[in-house]
Structures are given as structure tokens and as C-alpha cells.
């Protein structure tokens, strides 16, 4: 008989585990349940599995891990739970305890423990991967997140963008000052994330230009690394996640704002304190770090308070109809719902149209899409149908992970919509 001493992370979220009353309302919201229609997919089922793990009825088997991984952590269940159960936190903690007890399986152990925390080496491997990508994969517009995604995609034929010929950090200086004559009102750190760095460097350059033009000095600290989301949230490897968190905290120590263009990175970094703070020092440092993080749209609307005229739409997008996909990490995790819509609605040069269920998960969810690509595709199909129903020319979002997924699904369906980051709309 096991004691709950074996489950130190789950114990931290015991209150949430106990809150669930098994009412089953989550069935109406869970994107995974809505594809599979089996109880172990939905929040209530997962809560019951974790309770069984704790009371010793079930063991931390591979099947248990499979069930716990079968969740996009989209948070829709938690948002709608009448008892207020924070199921994603419980699942993340359970993943962590499973990893601590049983370890990670190949190849994730190599990728997460060894490669992702080593930024330069990771860049080199991604580069190597890009050569193989050219040989084996269909090329599409745009460009790969983690090596693991690449490995998975290689076998399954995902339509993914290409690795950029030159990474962002190789293309821009560490300190980017506003052009001559523009005064510096703010100095911010830019957390570029793996995706913008390796896949969408042009987006990064656009954001730097946009900010500098609007009186913001942009620092791209060289010491920054991966946010750690796939490692501690996806795979439950908290020890490695902590190393990555410490790296990023150190890299941005001197800066007052940390700007991100990836909702997943932002929310993962804000969650360092929730999952990774194992002592008072880390708790303090992670809390302070979290307070500085702003999503780019949140920074533009709430801090800079830019007028509509500051958003100069690039010539090729003028007159286009644009719709918005709200990333789970942006809306439900960071609570940034209105800011991007405010920007889109205020621009006279485009026509904004809200898609049905704009905040519904696209099914990417990082590691989830590696483990369960077919399921991830089915969830994405519903998003594709929503996009299609708007008749928009362009779908914009604020998370390169969602962007990859939307590119994949619109391409698979032969849809004409261009998928972009919201900041790519601008000059």
C-alpha cells in the first residue's frame, strides 16, 4: 500500500483534488472528451484516476501516464467548474510525480533533460534537423519548435513550417534602441521563445521594430533559454524545469518588463512560482519575475496605451478581413482577452470578424500534439471549421504554437486563410 508521501507535488494541490464533486459538467467543455467521448479523457475521470493513484487503488503505470498526458491543459474545465477545481494544476502535478517516480522515456529524456536547457547546442541540433526536414517533409509557408516535435512530425507528415535559415538572436543585437529622434520611454526585455527564435525570426524583428518606433528600448538578453513549458508542464520534469526557470530569471534580472510574443511561454513563466518554487528564495524570485511579464498586446494596450494610428497595417494586408484565435494560455491563463480584440477592432485598414468559439483550444498543446497527433488533428479540425465560417482572409493569433497548429490544419483542409501572429499585420 502506497502512502501519499510518494506524491509530493499532487499533495500541494490536494485541495483541488478534493474539490471535484464529479458533477460531470466538464464533459460539455473538454475538447479532448468531445473527440473521444470516454470518461478517462475528461477532467472528472482524470481527478478520479489521480485519487485512485493516491489511495493506492491504481499504480503509476505507463497507462496511467498515457491517461494523464491526454489533456491539452486548455483550462476550459477549470474556467467552467462550479466547484472551482483547478484540474490542469492537479494534472501537471501528477505528471511531475509520475516522472519523479518512474522517469522519462526515450527520446523525451534526452530532449528535455539534456538538450532543451542547453540553448546553443539546441540551436545546433535544430539546425541539423532543418536539413533533414528539407529532405523528408513537405515544405509549407512560414517554418519547428522543439526537436521532439520535429521527430514526431517526421513520422506523421505534419505540415509544419521550416526552420529559419538564420535564428533571431543571430540577426539582432542585444540592445535595440529607438531610431534617432525618438525618446526612450520604456526599456523592456524581450523573451523570444524557441519558436520565434528558430522558426519565426522575422516576427521577432517586426516586434523589435514596432516597439523601438514607439519609444521602447528592447533588450534581447543573450542568457535567456527555453521557457520550460514542454519540460515541466508537458512532461512533468520539475527538476529540469527549475534549472530553466533559474536561467531565465537571471537573464532578465535587471529589467522591469519582460515582453513575450508567445502566450504559452508567458503563462509557463508566470507559473514558475506555482510549480517550481521549492524554497523561499525561489518563491520570491519567481514571484518578482512573474510580475514583470507582459504579453505583447497587453503591453501595447495597457502600458503604452497606443492610439489606433500607431498600428500601421502593412500594405499587403490592407482591406483584408481578419479573424482572431484566442490561445488558451492567453485568455484563460493570462486573462488577456480584450487587448488583442481592442487592437484589431480599432484598426481602420482591416475588417475584424470574431470567429465562433474563438477561445476554443486548437489542440496543439505542445507535448500533447507529439503524444497524440491524430487526436490533436481532430481538435484542430473544429477550429478550422470555425475559421472557415468567418470567410476571413487572415487568421491571427498570439502564440507561435497555435500558429503551427493552425498552419497545419488550414493546409490539410486546403483552406485559403493565411495564418499569422497578430504583430505580423503591422509594418
Amino acid at each position: 500500500m502506497k502512502t501519499s508521501l510518494n506524491f509530493e507535488q499532487i499533495d500541494r494541490f490536494k485541495e483541488d483534488l478534493d474539490k471535484c464533486t464529479k458533477c460531470g459538467f466538464c464533459m460539455s467543455y473538454c475538447p479532448v472528451y468531445q473527440e473521444e467521448h470516454v470518461e478517462s479523457s475528461v477532467a472528472r475521470g482524470k481527478i478520479m484516476l489521480i485519487r485512485a493513484l493516491l489511495d493506492g487503488t491504481l499504480e503509476a503505470t505507463d497507462e496511467m501516464a498515457e491517461q494523464l498526458n491526454r489533456c491539452t491543459l486548455c483550462m476550459t474545465c477549470a474556467e467552467n467548474c462550479p466547484a472551482g477545481t483547478q484540474v490542469p494544476a492537479v494534472i501537471t502535478a501528477a505528471r511531475a510525480d509520475k516522472v519523479r517516480l518512474k522517469g522519462l522515456s526515450f527520446p523525451y529524456n534526452i530532449v528535455y533533460r539534456w538538450l532543451l536547457p542547453r540553448r546553443r547546442l539546441f540551436g545546433g541540433v535544430v539546425r541539423l534537423a532543418s536539413w533533414f526536414q528539407g529532405i523528408f517533409l513537405p515544405k509549407t509557408e512560414g517554418t519547428i519548435r522543439h526537436l521532439s516535435l520535429f521527430l514526431s512530425a517526421l513520422g506523421k507528415g505534419r505540415h509544419i513550417p521550416q526552420i529559419a535559415p538564420k535564428f533571431l538572436r543571430q540577426s539582432v543585437p542585444e540592445i535595440n534602441k529607438p531610431p534617432a529622434g525618438v525618446e526612450v520611454k520604456y526599456t523592456v526585455g524581450y523573451f523570444t521563445g524557441c519558436m520565434t527564435d528558430f522558426v519565426f525570426p522575422e516576427l521577432g524583428k517586426k516586434i523589435i521594430n514596432f516597439l523601438t518606433r514607439n519609444s521602447v528600448e528592447v533588450v534581447v538578453p543573450r542568457g535567456q533559454g527555453c521557457c520550460g513549458a514542454p519540460v515541466f508542464l508537458g512532461a512533468g520534469d520539475f527538476a529540469t524545469g527549475r534549472r530553466m526557470a533559474d536561467t531565465n530569471v537571471k537573464a532578465f534580472k535587471e529589467l522591469d518588463y519582460i515582453i513575450t510574443d508567445c502566450a504559452t511561454c508567458a503563462s509557463a513563466m508566470k507559473d514558475y512560482v506555482k510549480f517550481l518554487a521549492d524554497n523561499d528564495d525561489r518563491k520570491r524570485e519567481y514571484t518578482e519575475f512573474a510580475g514583470k511579464i507582459k504579453d505583447i498586446t497587453e503591453f501595447l494596450v495597457d502600458v503604452l496605451q497606443l492610439p489606433p494610428s500607431a498600428y500601421r497595417v502593412a500594405g499587403e494586408f490592407k482591406g483584408k478581413t481578419v479573424t482572431w484565435h484566442e490561445p488558451c494560455h492567453l485568455g484563460r491563463y493570462l486573462g488577456v482577452k480584450e487587448q488583442p480584440r481592442k487592437i484589431l477592432k480599432s484598426i481602420p485598414d482591416i475588417h475584424f470578424v470574431e470567429m465562433p468559439d474563438a477561445d476554443r483550444c486548437c489542440g496543439m498543446a505542445g507535448t500533447f500534439s507529439i503524444y497524440f497527433y491524430d487526436l490533436s488533428k481532430k481538435i484542430a479540425d473544429k477550429k478550422a471549421a470555425s475559421i472557415d465560417s468567418t470567410g476571413a482572409d487572415i487568421v491571427v493569433t498570439d502564440c507561435p504554437g497555435c500558429q503551427i497548429q493552425l498552419i497545419d490544419s488550414t493546409t490539410r483542409h486546403g483552406m485559403p486563410q493565411k495564418v499569422m501572429h497578430i504583430m505580423e499585420l503591422f509594418e
Binding site: D18, K19, T21, K22, C23, G24, F25, C26, M27, S28, Y29, H37, V38, E39, S40, G45, M48, L49, A52, T57, L58, T61, E63, M64, Q67, N80, C81, P82, A83, G84
Partner: protein, 462 residues
Amino acid sequence: MFNAKHVDQLRRIVGKDNVLATQEELLAYSYDATNMWQHLPDVVVLPTNANQISDILKLANESRIPVTPRGGGTNVSGGSIPIKGGIVLCTTRMNRIIEINRTNLNATVEPGVILQDLQEALAKEGLFFPPDPQSAQGCTMGGVVAENSGGPSCLKYGVAKQYVLGLEVVLADGRIVKLGGLTPKNRTGYELAMLFTGSEGTLGVISKITLRLLPSQKSSQTIVAVISDVAVAGETVTEIIASGVLPSKVEFVDNWTFEKFRGLLPDEILDKSQVILLIQVDGLPETVEAEAQQVVDICQSRAGEVKVAQNQAEADRYWQARTAHFSDISSRTHTIVNEDVSVPRDKIADFIKLGQESAKKYDVPISFAGHVGDGNFHPVVLTDSRNKEHYNRSLKCVEEIIEIALSLGGVLSGEHGIGLEKQRFLKKAMDPAAIEIMKAIKDVLDPNHILNPGKIWEETSD
């Protein structure tokens, strides 16, 4: 009885992906929304059509394997717990809305359609299926019919049985039978579709449902009244109904769940009140306005605060607070004993008063909420099954409350059904001859007692 080779046979019937047999998967089908029982099935099968259900039942019937039909598993009676093991036959993958017909005012659906999904699809067509159990977000149509579900709107519109026109049912021996039809009037033979409506999965498996629909109401208005005293709340309801207004909903929550209303209603009034009544009137805009005023006038003389929701968003917030009641109460304690009695409307105030006295006598916390407009109450005793002494007192209190309801001319279950939860009270609540008739019907339709065994009546009286 069940053995491993049955798993292979079931896989041949429904395909590999539609059979679940790992320990983890089975655990996820061992419970429902009650918290007193849990039992593992031996296997879970997810058929995708009636022929597959037929083959599953033939196999089970030949091998005498218990079969527990299940949809969303949101019931609060223990009805979908596989208390005898065997097969859980889960219909959640039969989730097509086959047809919505605006001219015939009917819809034909498979049993696994989630009620809320149906309601949303109907709303787009300007139509409406009134039963609205609080579990609408997870419960499936097969369960809505098999449990004869209710909900707040049943005050004006009636329960599920009033909307069942036709059923396709698979019997225990595998026969697929069509009952009723597509028309609102149908006087052909016995009302056999009604036999399966409310049968709690003990007589057959529902594989297709044709429902009668109503056109959506053009307008509605929500009124909230905060009342200091339980008995006064009861009288208020009685007076509203007697005044000739028939609201679509009159709901009652006591101060156990006031937290959900904080920020919506003034704290100083909530702090000194015992009851919130939520009332909805619906119909044509001009009727709604007049009826809402009538309700407000009646409430005003008795309530500390009366508020009319200014828009749909505000109304939705009140109704969400009401919907959260069950979860809210459940999350306050380890175990709740949730009852479902229904009393005649003119006995509401007496019932609550006697119920509170009983809770005082047994020294257990009790919360009253429910569809007070039709006399259907959910008294909830908060206890902890690990504390035997407290738990036993709670059970005694509940037993007394049921007796109070019965003595006032009420019934044991208004809308949850008997399942496991209420079978110990069945003999008190039903004519013995009626129980014999039920058993005789069971023997005709399911002679080997494979369908949802262990439910409705106690084993010993079998």
C-alpha cells in the same frame, strides 16, 4: 458470468477502439455523481449503432453478464454505477442529432447527445426542449429519457416524459423495438414508450429518441427575491402561483449557497436573510412584462430585496449561481446525502419547517434548495461517511425527512430516480402491488435480470 474471452467477442462486435479494459479505463466508469458507491465494471463497451447494442445484449444475455447502460454518468441516484460488475454499455459515441424538424416540431436524436448540445442546436432553429436538469452540460439524452429528467422549467412545461414521442429500444434478448412514433397524438395500443421512459436502464437500452419540441419563447424576465424567513418564502411561492401567474421557473436556495450571489445582491440584505427565490417568467414580451410586475408586487411585500435582471447577462449570472448549488454544497464536506422529495405546493412551508426541526433534532447541517415552484426539493445533509456516528445520524435525519414528505402527500423522488440511493425507501413510498407489477414487467422484458441489476428495488426483496 464474465470472463476474458468476452472481451474479444465484444471487440469483434464494436471494434477494438470501442472496448475499454485497462484498470485505468475501468476506474473511470466505476462512479457517477453520487459519492456513496463505487464499483468497477469488467469491461466498457461503446457501441455506435443499435445493431451493435443488440449483439452486445445477445452475448450478455446468453452468458448472464450484468449490463449497466450509461450515458454521461451525471445522475445522482447511483443509477449508472455497475454495482454488479460486468459490462458498462456507454452510449456517448452515439451522439448524432439525426433530424430537427421545424414543421413537425420534433427532433430525432441518438442517446449519446449531450442535452446542452441539443438545446444549442435547437435554439438556432428557434426551438426548445424544456426539461433542464442542472446536469445539462454533461447528461445525455438516453439518460434524460431513462431517468425521466426534470429541472426548473418543469414547473410550467412538464418533465421529459411529456416530450417523448417515440423510442427505439433494444431489449435484453437483442430485439430492436420501435415504440410510439413521430406524431404528438398516437393512440395505438399501450403507451409502451412511457414504460421505458423513467425505467432507469432496467428494461432495455434506448438507441433512438424522437422528441416533441416547442417554439422558443420570445422573451423572458428573471426576478430575484431575498427573503428573511423560510416559511415566508414558501408562502410567497404559494401566493405567486395562486395569483394566476405560471412562471417557467421558481427556484429556492438557502443561505448555504449565498456566497455565489455575493456581488450580485447587497451584502447587508444577504447577511440577514435565509432564502433567495429565483423566478423566471417567459412568453410574449408584453405578457412577460405584466407577469413580471405581478411577481414583483407579490415579492415586494415579503422580501428584503427584489431585483429584476436588467439584461440577459445579469439573468445568466443568477442562474449560473443557482446551477452551481450542488457542486458548491458538495465541495463543503466529504459526504452529502442529497434527497429529491416532491411535496404538494401548498405544503412547501410545512415541509421546510418540519425538515429543519428534524435536522436540529439529529444535530446535522442541512441545506434546502430546489424547484420550489413545483414542490420538488433537494434537502442536502452535510456529513462525512468516515465519521460513522455523524453519518448514521444524517441517514436517520434523511429518513425522517422522507417520511415527512410522504406524510404531507409527497413522493420519494421528484426527478432523480431510485437507483441505489433511494431503494431502501421504496417500500414505504409505493403500493406493494405496484412494486409487484414492476417486477412482473421486469421478468417479461429481462427474464435473466441482466439489465442494470441491483437498482430500484432492494436485493432481498427480489
